[in-house]
């Protein structure tokens, strides 16, 4: 698989605050990649850097092989997307907005515009002024713009905002179809895990500007639905981690300053405790985390201060 989007050690600082720090990941053609994180985690900042809104302080972004800094126009011509809310010229009709967008991209035919209008289901209202649209209609219109020029990378920031359940379902099906049938790399950000679960092939979880976790959604679900996660509050945690690694590496879910999360069955808890205690590690408590996807997310993004 080729990496359509390659992010290499990218950082962004606002004032003295490092909003995105050393983030690296890749998005491949034919997959839906979910970018998960709580509000203010740095999702939108990362997306804005990829789409040219913000300058990149450190690191490199490659789109379809083109460096965004050095080959801006070529890199950008393969991107389509919506950042935050879709914003269009309100005094113009949806169709004029689409025509204007089409002009700035190569190879968008009249037929293509009609096709896209049908794909997003706007054929009845495309000639109305955008200011008469509801948020859901604007989302559809924005999506139409985003896919108009058949981009290789589709970036959608919170795309389900304002959509009704039917709309969400249609969007989900459309994105899957685009990725799996048209071999587009789809990059979706969200703070809603349940949505991601249904839509994404792979997820990356970001918090406080750091990318914590990039895995196929199946593994995330396995993590969540397999053996329950037990949190061992230990000291020192780094030495505990070293001790546990030989036997339990695949089961370690997260490591913190004062704790280690391990997915193990009930019967495996005493041997681990024994191992830790016999090696002079202070074990303060063992805590069984709830076994749900939401909790997995929260435990990854919010539980304690991550060290890795």
């Amino acid at each position: 698989m080729e990496a359509v989007l390659k992010i290499n050690n990218v950082s962004k600082t606002f004032g003295s605050k490092k909003v995105v720090s050393n983030v690296s990941f890749e998005v491949y053609a034919g997959e839906v990649f979910g970018f998960l994180g709580p509000n203010g985690a740095g999702k939108t900042t990362t997306i804005k850097m990829i789409m040219g809104f913000l300058g990149i302080d450190e690191g490199q972004v490659y789109i379809n092989g083109y460096n965004l800094r050095k080959n801006y126009e070529k890199a950008m011509s393969d991107i389509g997307g919506i950042v935050e809310n879709p914003e269009m010229y309100k005094d113009l009709s949806g169709r004029v907005n689409l025509n204007m967008y089409a002009r700035t991209h190569d190879g968008v035919t009249k037929e293509r515009i009609e096709d896209v209008i049908n794909i997003v289901g706007m054929q009845n209202r495309i000639n109305e002024k955008v200011k008469k649209y509801s948020l859901g209609m604007k989302q559809r219109c924005g999506l139409a713009q985003a896919i108009l020029h058949k981009p290789k990378l589709l970036i959608l920031d919170e795309p389900t905002n304002g959509l009704d359940p039917v709309g969400i379902r249609e969007l989900r099906d459309l994105l899957k179809k685009l990725a799996h049938e048209d071999n587009i790399a789809v990059f979706v950000s969200s703070h809603m895990l349940s949505e991601m679960e249904l839509m994404c092939d792979r997820v990356g979880i970001i918090n406080n500007g750091k990318l914590l976790y990039v895995k196929p959604i199946k593994e995330l679900i396995e993590d969540a639905t397999g053996a329950p996660v037990h949190r061992f509050f230990v000291e020192p945690a780094t030495r505990a981690l070293e001790l546990l690694k030989p036997n339990y590496e695949k089961l370690i879910r997260a490591a913190f300053v004062d704790a280690v999360d391990i997915a193990v069955e009930r019967k495996d808890v005493p041997p681990i405790a024994k191992l830790l205690v016999s090696n002079d590690i202070s074990l303060y408590s063992i805590f069984k985390l709830e076994n749900s996807l939401e909790d997995a997310f929260i435990s990854i993004t919010g539980g304690g201060n991550p060290i890795a």
């Binding site: 804005k48 789409m51 040219g52 809104f53 913000l54 300058g55 801006y72 126009e73 070529k74 890199a75 950008m76 011509s77 991107i79 389509g80 997307g81 950042v83 935050e84 809310n85 914003e87 269009m88 010229y89 309100k90 005094d91 113009l92 004029v96 907005n97 204007m100 967008y101 002009r103 700035t104 991209h105 713009q145």
Partner: protein
């Protein structure tokens, strides 16, 4: 390049859908037609009042009044003479002088000559009576006391008296000019060069007006004499290499440029005289001011329109978020801004043409298309005539320079402040207060730096079209206080435009859009 065109087309689409543009252009048209209509109304009113006739009547009455006054004075003196002792001779001389005056006014009244006019017969008559005065004074001495020179003077004066009499009786302007030239030749105060200038002026007078008839009421003056005196004063300045150059407050020694300017002025005035472009009646004054007012108000509307468009071009897109669809486009940022600038420039030119069209149309409808006069200018001593419609177009386009300046100012502010209200507000404030502040600075500040202010250089029209009598002032009015050449002004304004443009592009390409 293709994408720049696409962005430009998009910007044009956006602007043409803006209701504010249509409203402003509509207001512009309404103002132009409204002013035209008002001016026509005032013209109609003044004609209806028939001021001209009243004026003639008043002047005739005035002449009668003067005649009456002299007669009363004469009666007074005659009464005093009866009781006078030593100063009898003096009183008799006054009596004689008054009698001459009375003769003159009586004669004028009989021959229907307006003594207060500059008509040649009035002038000839005044000369005639001056000679009569001199002759009668000389004759009052005993004949044996007169010198040969004085005797000769009596002879020539009497010759003039008879000839001037003939001029007045026969209305013979050509003969009058011949006499004038002789008087000039006999004037020993003048040098040969000066005599030549006076004779040239006389020749010009005869050439442009063979019959010598003029329309002399206040509301229907032609400015032949004014132009001729301008020409002769310019010729004197050239002769002495010292004098006033238009725009200067004091007389000074002439430079080469001054000399060139004065000679060109002479050429233009001569051309105007020879081609009958000398009428300055009430109607033409109103027509000129209508034309200027229409254009000035149109230009003010245009400045406001351009400031609103430029002041919102980036900031409004940022505040509504529509900038996103521009940033996502696969084009470098400078192209986005450049397309915006080009679209503003297009609106500037199109609205300039629109103003040209409606001004011409309104003027034609209200005052008639045939009342326009071409623009006459001179270079290198030869007169050139510019078609009126071409001239008016050129004039509007020269006036677009200050509009462009304020547009770029608002454009830069829009990019830098990202606040539409601030950018439009500041640029409108600068537009209205700039020339006032600049005048204050010019009045109080000493130093050369004042001439580097943009406002000191904004009035380009007056210097591009120095022979235009109907100037519209959009820029500063400080051109007189700070004298700079047109090239200096253009360079200064260009530098300011480049600086503002650079600031805008630098800010737009480098700053984050969040």
């Amino acid at each position: 390049m293709r994408r720049l065109c696409a962005l430009y087309l998009n910007e044009m689409t956006k602007i043409t859908h803006k209701i504010s543009v249509i409203i402003m252009l509509f207001i512009m048209a309404a103002l132009v037609f409204g002013i035209g209509g008002l001016m026509l109304f005032s013209l109609k009113m003044s004609t209806a009042n028939n001021i001209q006739n009243n004026n003639d009547t008043w002047q005739t009455q005035n002449n009668q009044q003067q005649l009456q006054n002299y007669k009363t004075q004469l009666a007074d003196i005659q009464a005093k003479e009866k009781t006078a002792g030593a100063d009898l001779a003096n009183l008799q001389m006054q009596e004689q002088s008054l009698k001459n005056q009375i003769d003159m006014f009586q004669y004028a009244a009989d021959n229907n000559i307006n003594m207060n006019s500059q008509e040649y017969r009035a002038v000839a008559m005044q000369k005639l009576f001056t000679y009569k005065d001199t002759v009668s004074q000389l004759k009052s001495y005993p004949a044996e006391m007169l010198t040969d020179k004085q005797k000769k003077e009596i002879a020539t004066d009497q010759d003039y008296i008879t000839r001037l009499q003939k001029v007045i009786d026969n209305k013979d302007y050509a003969a009058y000019i011949v006499i004038s030239n002789e008087i000039v030749s006999n004037n020993s105060d003048l040098t040969d060069d000066q005599k030549q200038i006076e004779k040239d002026m006389n020749a010009l007078r005869l050439k442009i007006n063979p019959t010598g008839e003029t329309n002399n009421s206040i509301y229907g003056v032609d400015n032949t004499e004014q132009l001729i005196s301008q020409i002769s004063s310019n010729k004197y300045s050239l002769l002495n290499n010292f004098g006033y150059v238009s725009g200067s407050q004091t007389a000074k020694s002439l430079t080469t440029t001054d000399r060139e300017k004065l000679s060109n002025d002479i050429v233009v005035n001569t051309y105007k005289l020879e081609n009958g472009m000398v009428k300055v009646d009430n109607a033409s004054a109103i027509r000129n001011s209508a034309q200027v007012t229409m254009m000035s108000f149109g230009l003010i509307m245009m400045v406001i329109l351009m400031m609103i468009l430029a002041g919102g071009c980036v900031s409004s897109e940022i505040s509504t978020g529509s900038i996103k669809s521009l940033i996502i486009a696969p084009v470098r940022r400078w192209k986005i801004l450049f397309a915006k600038f080009l679209s503003l420039l297009t609106v500037l030119i199109v609205s300039g043409l629109f103003l040209y069209g409606i001004s011409i149309l309104a003027y034609g409808i209200f005052f008639g298309f045939n009342t326009v006069t071409p623009y006459v200018f001179a270079s290198g001593g030869t007169p050139h005539v510019m078609n009126y419609y071409l001239f008016f177009l050129a004039k509007i386009f020269v006036n677009l320079l200050p509009v462009l300046f304020y547009m770029v100012l608002a454009f830069m502010l829009s990019v830098v402040t990202r606040n539409t209200a601030a950018s439009v507000g500041i640029s409108i404030a600068v537009f209205f207060a700039g020339s006032i502040v600049s005048s204050l600075i010019t009045a109080f500040a000493k130093g050369e730096w004042v001439k580097f202010l943009p406002f000191s250089n904004m009035d380009v029209t007056g210097r591009v079209f120095p022979y235009d009598t109907t100037l519209a002032m959009l820029g500063g009015t400080t051109a007189g206080a700070v004298s700079t050449t047109i090239a200096f002004s253009l360079i200064t304004i260009a530098v300011f435009l480049l600086l503002m443009g650079y600031t805008a592009f630098d800010s737009f390409t480098r700053r984050d859009i969040s």
